[in-house]
Amino acid sequence: METNFKSPTGKIAYSVFAWIVGLAIFFPILWMALTSFKSEIDAVNMPPLFFDFNWTLENYTGILEQSNYFKFAMNSIILSFGSTIIGLVFAVTCAWAMAFNPTKRTKDTLLWMLSTKMMPPVGVLVPIYLMFRDWGLLDSRFGLIMVLFLMNLPIMVWMLYTYFKEIPKDILEAARMDGATLPKEIFFVLLPMAVPGIASTMLLNIILAWNEAFWTLNLTTSDAAPLTAFIASYSSPEGLFWAKLSAASTLAVAPILVVGWFSQKQLVRGLTFGAVK
């Protein structure tokens, strides 16, 4: 439902207004990025400096020289990709079964899976924490990958299910008639057709895992801590390292922001469970 403007002046005036609103919403990100190029003194200058400061890369070089930054970044990558890949193996098979071999209980099972996603994490924080402690999984990448994988599994199954439903069943049946075994049917017939859906499911899952900040803060201390925890360490009151905080933050959000821009359409499908089309 798009309105066409009657006069070009109206369109220009309206566009200017819309851009002011849009830039205001984006401003905290822009300001963070700008501050990351300032010296610590310029970062707290009053009045704030917009562009007329000494642009410097010292915050970035400072962070990248810290050997532990790479550890945190690496953990973020390992956790988000690891949980996504494991999740994909489980979710593809499950969604295949539900989309192509539905039973009477399929719908209820899907809804039950969703309802686990609605469970507040504090409801299971205590037992998970104690189990992790007893099994030596606290601050381990493996433990956290499992948590992130299970946390997002309902969303992955759900998204893949909606994509698989759009693939005509006849094609899979034809392959079966030609003697394709089940693994072959899934690998060589279903998956190639579902590549766009699988890709967007993976992207959304990587975003969610990358930004997850309840379990990553509660179950890690140093070895397995990802960037969410690294940034949280800047919350301690000693010292004012805002330019460094900004540089670290910019590095932490930049990759996922780009991924997010590419997957904005799939976001609606994934996060509303198909309730809004």
Binding site: M118, V122, L150
Partner: protein, 290 residues
């Protein structure tokens, strides 16, 4: 085509995910329920004993519970109002044929992809700092005293940063719903002499009602458990001013080691979330043609 073989294959293939989720949610939840009836403190191991509903009695009559319940409801309610109204307005704005709409949409949805710890620290230190923050500068330029957000209005500060994070979500979903609105209907109303306000209230808003419901339900579920933003900025304080239920349970479990009390609190949080989840699951179920 529901042969016995294919049904069997379906069961075998979906079983791993179902079992994994069962172990992940139902088993720990059962343990939480069990712990909630025990006197169980990590500082005095081996002293666990069954005490019935005592933990619930303590949790539900503690003034910290009422404070955090109130904070939770204020936080959820305020963020919902801001994001739904803001989302409708910005959705309508982005639905017009304006210059650079694609780029503008990317700018508007970006906050959703910012990790909560970055969001909280950037707002706290770069924008809301009373001495050198950007908002302090705006206040002073306009001749006002800068607001010391985290002392004078800590909960408002949390509400603002959480709302900023969720505004894009509401906008994106409402925009998607707006784009599916039938244009002919609007044109017919225009020809009948309906003004833009009448069109909004009689055509656009009813069309959006479903999407608005979905936004409210999904946001509520996530907002009930806001944690990281509080963890890195206020630590629940000053006093209990920014402690919500999720944060209260965290402090009882991992700071006071009171497993029994924290478990009772966790179950209360689960019940609150389930009240919302029931409606959401029904709504999604109706829309699902499985």
């Amino acid at each position: 085509m529901s042969t016995r073989a294919s049904t069997l294959a379906g069961h075998v293939m979906s079983a791993p995910s179902i079992i994994a989720l069962f172990l992940w949610m139902i088993v720990p939840l059962g343990m939480t329920i069990y712990f909630s009836f025990l006197r169980y403190n990590l500082l005095s191991p081996g002293m666990e004993e069954w005490i019935g509903f005592v933990n619930y009695k303590f949790f539900l009559t503690d003034h910290a519970f009422f404070a955090s319940l109130a904070n939770t409801l204020i936080l959820v309610g305020s963020v919902l109002v801001i994001t739904v109204i803001g989302g409708i307005l910005i959705g309508l704005m982005l639905d017009q044929a304006i210059f650079g709409r694609g780029i503008l949409r990317i700018l508007v949805i970006s906050p959703f992809f910012i990790m909560p710890t970055v969001n909280a620290l950037v707002w706290k230190n770069l924008l809301m700092n009373p001495v050198s923050g950007f908002f302090a500068w705006i206040s002073m330029s306009l001749g006002f005293q800068p607001i010391d957000w985290f002392t004078q209005a800590p909960l408002t500060a949390i509400i603002i940063m959480v709302a900023w994070q969720w505004l894009p979500f509401a906008t994106l979903i409402l925009l998607t719903a707006l784009q599916s609105l039938d244009r002919d209907q609007k044109e017919a109303a225009q020809m009948d002499g309906a003004g833009p306000i009448a069109i909004f209230f009689y055509i656009t808003l009813p069309h959006l009602s479903r999407a608005i419901t979905v936004v409210i339900l999904i946001e509520t579920i996530f907002l009930l458990t806001v944690f990281a933003e509080i963890f890195v900025t206020t630590g629940g304080g000053p006093g209990l001013a920014t402690t919500n239920i999720a944060f209260l349970v965290y402090t009882q479990a991992l700071l006071q080691y009171d497993v029994g009390g924290a478990s009772a609190g966790g179950i209360v949080a689960v019940i609150l979330a389930n009240i919302v989840a029931i409606f959401l699951v029904r709504l999604i179920g109706k829309n699902l043609d499985a």
